[in-house]
Symmetry: C2
Subunit: 506 residues, 2 copies
């Protein structure tokens, strides 16, 4: 019961933190309260009520339905509502005139038919892909039309009803817009700007996180299988954010869509501010983030390059990663500060670090192919392959400390055979642990009895694949860097179109 008595405090604490995380949330809530209060005053006071009559309640409905989080979204919704009501009003007046001219008997049939047609037509139109954003407008047309026509038929003087209602809606809409714009406005443009900057940081963070984990992963604490499917690891907060960023294309679109409705404000001073460019930069950034996803797939792949091999290229990989992340952060900072600085220095540094990585891979490329080269061609440096090639030091020392293997003198054919045997033993063990995918089949083969004939070449193949997994990782990293060029270009274009402050620092 002590826990339960604590839980409301915990709950209040959660709510407090939620509010503190983004104080706009509280601002928004209070603004809605205020708008509702103001519109209610129209009815609570006697004077306005006497002018507009019962229809004034429509202004309450309008405020409650129109008030959106951002200024742009409110404008957009207001536009939908206004145009929808207007269209509905016009259609209603025309239809009522037609219906009345058909005489008392036919009137309800004409009205009924028109309601059916309008209902079907608006519903069909709002499914049309390019009209989907105006879904709300079509709903407004439908119910406003029905209300005007039906209550007009029943209560008489439909045009008067329609006009009164339109006035009420206009009052409600105006009030919602005024409260939304004049009192601590929350601009969609500002939100979009911040969202883009945040995405830059997300991608940079998750790139660093992924590479760091890849280089430090010695295979000892591999998580289970099922977890890998769902892509959820508690020690990868940045990745989760990056994945969320990948799914945020709809958010970008809707924010940009709202921002277009907003007048110049704050830092975004000129008309026709290029919000579309924000969406484009976001798309290129997502394009880069796909590469991070692939790197992450490599990190959690069942086929893994041995730890030693990864260590060989550690400094180059780390260097390239850090430079790339630095460039990303610098771009994000530029966008954030609305500065336009040429990133050539950083870009050059990233490129040269990638060239170093490529060169290092080239120099050590013999490590990436399986060790039959080593047997075929003894002219090559002999020390390295055995030490760094394809298995963990732990496994290697395991088989070295095997009593049988230690007693025999080195370099005799027997030792070679034993070593080869235990080597393949090790490989098999490693294969079990790391490459779980063909496990069923391997078991099948073992039961067959054709182990030696079948298994050894397959081990070789797997071994080669494991080493090549490192080259996959670096290739993806290189591809990521290649995409940064597009990103720099896109940010450049944004900076030019949005008139960012020119700076020639780098």
């Amino acid at each position: 019961s002590d826990d339960e008595s604590l839980s409301p405090w915990k709950w209040i604490w959660d709510v407090w933190k939620f509010a503190q995380e983004d104080t706009n949330r509280v601002t928004f809530s209070l603004k809605v309260g205020l708008a509702c209060l103001l519109v209610s005053l129209l009815i609570l006071f006697r004077a306005p009520y006497q002018v507009f009559g019962v229809n004034i309640i429509w202004s309450i409905l309008t405020v409650a339905i129109m008030f959106e989080y951002t200024v742009g979204a409110t404008f957009n919704r207001g536009f939908n509502r206004a145009l929808g009501s207007l269209l509905a009003g016009i259609i209603a007046i025309v239809v009522i005139q037609v219906a009345m001219s058909t005489g008392r008997f036919a009137e309800p049939y004409v009205i009924g038919l028109s309601i059916f047609v309008i209902g079907a037509l608006t519903s069909f139109m709002k499914l049309w892909p390019s009209l989907v954003p105006y879904e709300y407008g079509f709903r407004v047309i439908l119910f406003t039309y029905c209300l005007i026509v039906v209550s007009g038929y029943r209560m008489g003087n439909p045009i008067r009803t329609a006009m009164d209602r339109l006035y009420s809606i206009a009052i409600g809409g105006l009030l919602a817009v005024l409260v939304n714009v004049l009192i601590f406005p929350i601009w969609a443009g500002e939100q979009l700007h911040k969202e883009l900057v945040k995405t830059f940081t997300c991608v940079a963070d998750s790139l660093e996180e992924c590479v760091k984990k890849y280089l430090s992963d010695d295979g000892s604490n591999r998580p289970e299988f099922a977890k890998a499917v769902m892509d959820e690891f508690s020690d990868e907060p940045a990745f989760r954010k990056c994945k969320a960023a990948l799914n945020s294309s709809t958010k970008f679109d809707s924010l940009a869509n709202s921002a277009k409705w907003e007048p110049p404000h704050g830092r975004f001073k000129h008309f026709f501010y290029p919000w579309e460019e924000y969406v484009k930069v976001g798309a290129v950034l997502r394009h880069c983030a796909y590469e991070v996803m692939a790197l992450h797939g490599c990190l959690h792949s069942e086929i893994q390059a041995p730890y030693n091999l990864r260590c060989t290229f550690q400094s180059e990989i780390l260097d390239a990663t850090n430079k790339a992340a630095e460039l990303l952060r610098s771009l994000g900072k530029d966008v954030s500060n609305m500065k336009h600085s040429l990133q050539t220095t950083l870009l050059k540094r990233v490129h040269s670090s990638i060239v170093r990585l490529q060169r290092s891979i080239d120099m050590h490329s013999y490590l990436l192919t399986s060790n039959h080269d080593y047997h075929d061609c003894p002219a090559k440096p002999a020390a390295k392959p055995l030490k760094t090639l394809s298995f963990n030091p732990k496994d290697f020392s395991d088989c070295l400390t095997e009593p049988d293997a230690n007693k025999v003198e080195p370099n005799t054919p027997l030792t070679m055979a034993v070593q080869a045997e235990s080597y393949h033993e090790t490989m098999k063990k490693q294969q079990r642990r790391l490459h779980s995918w063909p496990s069923r089949e391997v078991d099948d083969f073992e039961e067959d009895g054709a182990i030696d004939a079948e298994l050894i070449p397959r081990m070789r193949a797997l071994e080669s694949t494991t080493a090549l997994s490192l080259s996959t990782f670096t290739s993806l990293l290189i591809e990521f860097v290649a995409r940064l060029d597009h990103l720099v270009e896109a940010v450049d274009k944004l900076a030019k179109m949005a008139n960012f402050k020119q700076e020639c620092t780098s």
Copy 2:
């Protein structure tokens, strides 16, 4: 003017095709029309109007706002509307009692304050992440509360008003539900089922498309740079669909969310049908599709393996791809027919085709490393590397038909030098064309004058990277196949939980 007279026909034709593509769209539209007509009859006929009075217009509003595309969504929205109205009604009645007990003078202040508090509270709550799906419910609470309290204050007898309105809303809601369920119902569950099956086909198609394009791409008709950023290629319809599938996680979620509200229907006969499993299979499928995205990134990467090298592994890559696509399609077909068949045979075939690919890569792994091995170690087969290594035959023949190179006799040191020169010339050309990313720097280096000292090792590095790009492609393909295991598992679990028909065909 001839074009303009044709355009309405074109427009009608488009609409016709849009309707034919999914006849449910027409059904839905006609149903909305019917529902609106039925609810209007309540007012057009005198009898019901006399019972319910003016408040009957609320049933029209309810139908127009509640009627959604699928049965589940309509239920969900109806639930929001009903619970919201009920809560608003209860709160309103309590507050009105309190306000009336405070006396005539304080009453408007209490009402005003309560409106402010309810407005702020509902707006804050609907921002809370776990309450976001009930956003509409909070809106309903807000405006229903305001309407009841305010019109009650002004018009007297608030409880009577509230009850009349709730009856009207109930009538409207019931009508919307009845029309939606009884007349050609569109089930969210059915949609989700179809959507999942479609995604299987999408992933299989785009995998095949991507691999086919990769193997047939000889670098001759490379699209421009800017296009590659936006991931839009006219000859890749399947990829576009696959990308859309990647962004469809919200669609899956909302369909599953709606499907949970639906009673057993059609093929989905038992209660508590595991719609959540559909979402999970969809997630694993997306997880596979990320790998296809990476393959596609490889296809349009600026760093490309030479065509010849790709041809070397063509049959193995094609075989693995076809087997994987076959498995995907077979899984999709099983889900579509609600059958549960063990896919072990197909899975084994995919695995063995991947093993063949791995073995082939292992056997030809010397092709993947740069050719200084070839110079260092002449014991290796000498014919292959030069022919298949790192440049296109076209480029090679270009430099062979150069007059200077042809006149000199082969095998003299001079020829070697010239060949090396023209080889690096070729490499540079190829680098320009294929790896545009370091182009700025290459130009910088050329102007420096330190060309030979710097460029040749860099060419080597790039050359090695180009060859390794093939290994990246195959690694990604292998990783894709590895993920198919999870997919088979997920489909298995779905089949068990949803009681698919057992079949022991394979």
